[in-house]
C-alpha cells in the first residue's frame, strides 16, 4: 500500500487535470489515505502475539493516511479555490476531516485513530498561516462563516476527545486557544487598520484581544464551565501564559515599532491607544498573577520590571510628542529634556517602591527601590552632569535630592526579621 502511494505520487499526480473534487489527485490521494486507514484498522483488530510490532505499525499507517488526506485536501483547495477563500476553506475541510476521523474512530472504538484526530490543531495552524500570509482579515471572503465553523468543529472535537488522550488534550486546548487568539488579533488589527489608517489604532486594538480572551478564560474557570473544567491547569497556566506572551509581544511591537501618534486624534499622555493597551496588558498580567502566584515574588517582580520598561517608553513617547524630541534612539538619548525627565521619573518610582516597602514591610521592594535610586544618582553624575548650565539639569538634581531627603525620613529599610515569609 505504501508502494502504491509512492507510485501514485511519482506517476499519478497531475496538476491542472480534471474538474474540482472529482479529479485524479484528490480522489487518488483520498483512496490512498482510506486504504491506509483500513489497513491500520485491520492490523489493530488482528493484534495478537506480535503486538510490539503491530501497534507501532498501525500508528505509522494512521500517520501515513492522515498526511495523505490532509495534503490531498490542501492541494485541491490551493488548485481550485480562489485565493481569498482558501484559508477558510482549508480550515473547514481540515477540521471536518478530523471530525470525520474522530467519528469513525468512535464508532469503531478505535483508540489510536481518536488520538490522531488531534491533528486538527496543527492543520488549522497551517490554515491560519495561509490567512496570515494573505493581507485580508480572517472574516474576508468566506472566512466570516468558514472560520467560526472550523473553530466550532475544533472545540467540538476537543470536547469529544477530552478523555481519549488526556496528555494530548492537555496541549491541544492551549494550542486551540492560541489559534483563536491569533485569528482574533488578525481580524481586529486588520479591520481597525482599514478604518483608521496608520499602524497605531489597529495594533493597539489587536493587542487588547489576548487580554480579553484571558479574562474570558479566567471567568469560565471561576464558573467551572467547559472547556476549563476538564483541564484546569492547561487553561489557567498553559493557555494563560500563551495569551500573556502573545499580548506582551504585541505590546512590545506597538511600543517599539510606532511613535504612538493617535491620528486623527491629538496625543494625550496616558489617554492614548498605546498607553491604554499597555496598561490593560499589565493589569491582565496582574489579575492573572493574583490568582496564580500570590505567594511568590517572582511573578510580581517580572511584572514590575515590564511595568518599569513600559512606563519609561511611555515617558519617552510623551517627550517626543510634547517636547518635540525626534522618535529615534540617538536624539532621545542625547536630549537633555529626556534625561532629566527620566531621572525624575525613575526617582519617583524608586521613592514609591521604598515607601511602599517600608509601609508593607516588604524588604525586597524597599531594596529594589533603593537600587533604582542608586542608579538614578549614578546617572545624575555620569550622564546629566554633562548637560551643564541647563535648567533641566538643575531641576533633575534638585528633584532627586529632595526625594532622597524625603525617603530617608519616611522610608527606613524594613527590618529583616519582620519580613513576612516569602513576601
Amino acid at each position: 500500500m505504501i508502494a502504491a502511494g509512492l507510485a501514485f505520487l511519482r506517476y499519478g499526480w497531475r496538476w491542472g487535470v480534471g474538474p474540482p473534487v472529482l479529479n485524479g489527485n484528490l480522489v487518488g490521494g483520498l483512496l490512498v489515505a482510506t486504504a491506509g486507514l483500513v489497513a491500520a484498522r485491520q492490523l489493530g483488530l488482528a493484534t495478537g502475539r506480535n503486538a510490539r510490532i503491530e501497534v507501532p505499525a498501525g500508528c505509522v499507517l494512521i500517520a501515513w493516511s492522515v498526511v495523505w488526506w490532509a495534503v490531498s485536501v490542501a492541494c485541491e483547495i490551493f488548485e481550485h479555490v480562489p485565493p481569498p477563500h482558501q484559508p477558510a476553506a482549508m480550515a473547514v475541510a481540515q477540521a471536518g476531516s478530523a471530525l470525520l476521523l474522530a467519528a469513525v474512530a468512535r464508532a469503531q472504538d478505535w483508540q489510536p485513530a481518536r488520538s490522531a484526530a488531534f491533528v486538527a490543531v496543527p492543520l488549522l495552524y497551517f490554515a491560519g498561516l495561509a490567512q496570515w500570509l494573505g493581507r485580508d482579515p480572517p472574516s474576508a471572503g468566506s472566512g466570516w462563516i468558514g472560520w467560526p465553523v472550523a473553530l466550532a468543529a475544533l472545540f467540538g472535537l476537543l470536547r469529544w476527545n477530552d478523555a481519549t488522550n488526556p496528555r494530548l488534550a492537555k496541549f491541544a486546548h492551549p494550542a486551540a486557544v492560541a489559534l483563536v487568539a491569533l485569528l482574533v488579533v488578525m481580524e481586529v488589527g486588520r479591520r481597525v487598520s482599514i478604518l483608521v489608517p496608520g499602524p497605531v489604532w489597529g495594533e493597539a486594538a489587536a493587542a487588547l484581544m489576548p487580554g480579553l480572551l484571558l479574562l474570558a478564560i479566567l471567568a469560565l474557570a471561576a464558573r467551572h464551565a467547559w472547556p476549563t473544567t476538564g483541564h484546569p491547569r492547561a487553561y489557567a497556566i498553559g493557555a494563560a501564559l500563551v495569551l500573556l506572551l502573545l499580548q506582551a509581544g504585541l505590546i512590545a511591537r506597538l511600543n517599539l515599532g510606532t511613535d504612538g501618534d493617535p491620528q486623527p486624534l491629538p496625543y494625550l499622555p496616558l489617554a492614548n491607544p498605546v498607553d491604554l493597551a499597555s496598561a490593560f496588558a499589565l493589569l491582565c498580567g496582574w489579575h492573572w498573577l493574583r490568582q496564580r502566584t500570590r505567594s511568590r515574588p517572582l511573578g510580581p517582580a517580572i511584572l514590575g520590571g515590564i511595568a518599569f520598561v513600559v512606563s519609561t517608553v511611555a515617558l519617552l513617547r510623551a517627550t517626543h510628542h510634547l517636547g518635540g524630541v525626534p522618535w529615534r534612539a540617538g536624539p532621545l538619548l542625547e536630549s537633555v529634556l529626556v534625561q532629566a525627565t527620566l531621572s525624575i521619573w525613575w526617582s519617583l518610582l524608586a521613592f514609591a517602591g521604598m515607601v511602599a516597602g517600608a509601609r508593607t514591610l516588604r524588604r525586597w521592594l524597599w531594596l529594589t527601590g533603593a537600587a533604582l535610586m542608586a542608579v538614578v544618582v549614578a546617572k545624575l553624575f555620569v550622564v546629566d552632569l554633562g548637560n551643564t548650565g541647563t535648567i533641566a539639569r538643575i531641576v533633575s538634581f534638585v528633584g532627586v535630592g529632595a526625594l532622597l531627603l524625603i525617603v530617608g525620613y519616611l522610608a527606613p529599610v524594613p527590618p529583616r526579621q519582620r519580613e513576612p515569609a516569602g513576601a
Binding site: 485565493p83 493581507r135 485580508d136 482579515p137 474576508a140 481580524e187 481586529v188 479591520r191 481597525v192 487598520s193 482599514i194 478604518l195 483608521v196 489608517p197 489604532w201 486594538a205 487588547l208 484581544m209 487580554g211 480579553l212 479574562l215 474570558a216 479566567l218 471567568a219 471561576a222 464558573r223 493617535p262 486623527p264 486624534l265 494625550l268 496616558l270 489617554a271 492614548n272 491607544p273 491604554l276 496598561a279 490593560f280 493589569l283 496582574w286 489579575h287 493574583r290 500570590r294 525626534p326 529615534r328 508593607t360
Partner: protein
C-alpha cells in the same frame, strides 16, 4: 461591588470598544473618478495581458510612494487586476564567437618574440606583419615563431581562443602563449595552454581551446617556445563573453531649491519617488571638484537618510572633459534629496541627476478595451488601499508568465479624471473621530476601573485576619 470572578462588564466594554471599528466592511475598490489623473492605454495587438513601463508623469501623479493608488480600469470603469514591480532584466545575447585570420610572424627559429617590434600593415584585403627587429636577422631559413590577430572594433571581453592548424603537422602537442594588446606596443599575458592533435585510426585527441583572462583587447599575439616543422596557425576562433544589454533607463536632472539651514546642504525636490538607483552630481564650471554626502528623505519620514558619499569632479584639459562616474545604489524611492559638501565648494549649487529603471506594470486584459490607467487618489489611502488589497497579488506575474511573454502597451496623453481635488486628503469623517474619542474614553474608564478594583483587592488581601 464588582467581582473579578465575573468580569462580564469589562469584557462587554472592551469588546464593544474593539468591535465597533471592526464592524466596518472591507471597502470596495473606488471608481475612476476617485483618481486625479488618467491615461488611455494604447495596445496594438490583442493579448491576454499587457506590460508597460511607468513614465515619470505617473510617479508624479501618484500620492502613494508605493504606487498603491495607481489602478487600471476597463472601458466600463471596472477595476482590472494589475501588478507593479521591478522591470524584467534584459536577456543577454548568446555567447559570441568569430573566426579570425592569424597573420604569421616569420623569424629565425628560436627567436624570442618579445624582442620583435611588430606592426600590422593592411593593403586592401591583404594584411602583413612588418617586423622591426632589434638585432639584424640571422642568416638561414625562417620559421613561423608567432602569429598576430587583429580583432577589429570588438569591445567585448575575449574569454578563449580555439586554434586551427594543418592536419599534416599532427601528431602535435604544443604549449601556446597568448598575449593581448591595444596598441601593438604594450603586451599583457592573457593565458597559455597546451593544444594537442593526436590521431590513431578512428580515435583522436584534439585540444584546440585555450582559456584566457576575460578582457577586451584589440590585438592578440600567439607564440610557442618550440614547434614541429611545418607548424602554422592559419585561423583561430575567438570566443567573446556576451554583454548584458543596458536596460532602458530614465533620468531627471534637479536644480537646488534651497539650502538646509542645519548643515548648509543643497535641497532638491523631484516631485516624485521613482526607484532611484543611480546618482550623479553635475558640477558647474570647467574645473570643479567636490566631496559630498548625499541624503534622501523617504516619503512621510522626518529625518534625512544618508545614502552615499562620493568625490565628484568635472575637469577639462584642452578639448577633453573628465567627469566623475555616477554612483550606484539599491533602488530608493525618495522625492526629496540633499547634497552636503564636505570638501570643496560649488557655486552655484550642483545639479543632481537621478537615474532609475522605470517600474513595470502588468495588467490582465479583463473587460472591454480600451483600458485606462488612473493615478493619484487620497481616498485610496484613507480607505486602506482597497484596489491594491484586492488586486495586487504578488503571484500574478508568475501566473501571467504561464500565458507567455507580455504584449507591450503604452500610455496616451494624461487627462483629468477626478481632478486635483482628489489629491487633497479629506478630513476624517466626524463620526469616525467621535467613535475614536468614545473608544478612548471607554478605554480610560475600563483601565482605571480595573486598576482600582485590583488595588482594592490587593489591599483587602493584605489586611491581617
Amino acid at each position: 461591588m464588582p467581582d473579578w470572578r465575573d468580569p462580564r462588564p469589562v469584557l462587554l466594554a472592551l469588546l464593544s470598544m474593539a468591535g465597533l471599528p471592526a464592524a466596518a466592511a472591507t471597502p470596495e475598490p473606488l471608481p475612476p473618478a476617485a483618481y486625479a489623473w488618467g491615461w488611455p492605454i494604447e495596445t496594438e495587438a490583442t493579448a491576454g495581458y499587457y506590460a508597460l513601463a511607468l513614465p515619470l508623469e505617473v510617479y508624479r501623479s501618484a500620492l502613494d510612494p508605493q504606487l498603491r493608488d495607481v489602478a487600471v480600469f476597463d472601458a466600463g470603469g471596472e477595476p482590472v487586476p494589475r501588478w507593479i514591480g521591478a522591470p524584467e532584466a534584459p536577456q543577454p545575447p548568446p555567447a559570441a564567437r568569430s573566426t579570425r585570420i592569424v597573420v604569421p610572424v616569420h623569424a629565425a627559429p628560436g627567436t624570442a618574440v618579445t624582442t620583435l617590434q611588430l606592426a600590422l600593415e593592411h593593403r586592401g584585403q591583404q594584411t602583413t606583419v612588418r617586423i622591426d627587429g632589434r638585432s639584424p636577422p640571422a642568416p638561414g631559413p625562417l620559421a613561423i615563431v608567432a602569429g598576430l590577430v587583429d580583432l577589429g572594433e570588438e569591445r567585448r571581453d575575449l574569454v578563449a581562443v580555439e586554434l586551427e592548424w594543418p592536419a599534416a603537422v599532427e601528431p602535435v602537442i604544443l604549449v601556446v602563449h597568448v598575449e593581448g594588446s591595444v596598441d601593438l606596443q604594450q603586451w599583457t599575458a592573457l593565458g597559455s595552454g597546451t593544444i594537442a592533435g593526436l590521431r590513431e585510426g578512428e580515435a583522436s585527441i584534439v585540444q584546440r581551446r585555450i582559456g584566457l583572462d576575460a578582457r577586451p583587447v584589440r590585438y592578440l599575439r600567439l607564440h610557442w617556445p618550440s614547434a614541429p616543422a611545418g607548424w602554422s596557425v592559419p585561423r583561430l576562433v575567438a570566443h567573446f563573453v556576451p554583454q548584458r544589454p543596458e536596460p532602458t533607463r530614465e533620468s531627471l536632472a534637479l536644480e537646488p531649491t534651497g539650502v538646509d539651514p542645519d548643515d548648509q546642504g543643497w535641497l532638491y525636490d523631484a516631485g516624485a519617488a521613482p526607484p532611484v538607483d543611480r546618482l550623479e552630481l553635475e558640477l558647474p564650471g570647467e574645473q570643479a571638484l567636490l566631496r559630498a554626502s548625499i541624503f534622501a528623505r523617504l516619503p512621510g519620514a522626518e529625518r534625512w537618510q544618508h545614502v552615499r558619499d562620493g568625490l565628484f569632479y568635472r575637469l577639462r584639459r584642452g578639448d577633453a572633459v573628465v567627469t566623475s562616474e555616477p554612483l550606484s545604489l539599491p533602488p530608493l524611492r525618495a522625492a526629496q534629496w540633499k547634497v552636503v559638501a564636505s570638501g570643496g565648494r560649488s557655486e552655484p549649487g550642483p545639479s543632481l541627476r537621478l537615474g532609475w529603471q522605470a517600474d513595470r506594470l502588468l495588467f490582465v486584459a479583463q473587460g472591454a478595451a480600451p483600458w485606462q490607467l488612473a493615478a493619484g487618489s487620497a481616498r485610496e489611502g484613507e480607505s486602506g488601499f482597497p484596489y491594491a488589497r484586492r488586486f495586487a497579488d504578488p503571484g500574478l506575474p508568475r501566473l501571467l508568465d504561464r500565458a507567455g511573454p507580455a504584449t507591450g502597451a503604452s500610455l496616451g496623453p494624461r487627462r483629468e479624471l477626478g481632478g486635483p481635488r482628489q489629491l487633497v486628503p479629506r478630513r476624517s469623517p466626524a463620526w469616525r473621530r467621535w467613535l475614536l474619542w468614545l473608544a478612548l474614553i471607554a478605554g480610560v474608564a475600563v483601565v482605571a476601573g480595573m486598576a482600582w478594583q485590583l488595588l482594592r483587592q490587593d489591599a483587602r488581601d493584605s489586611r491581617p485576619g
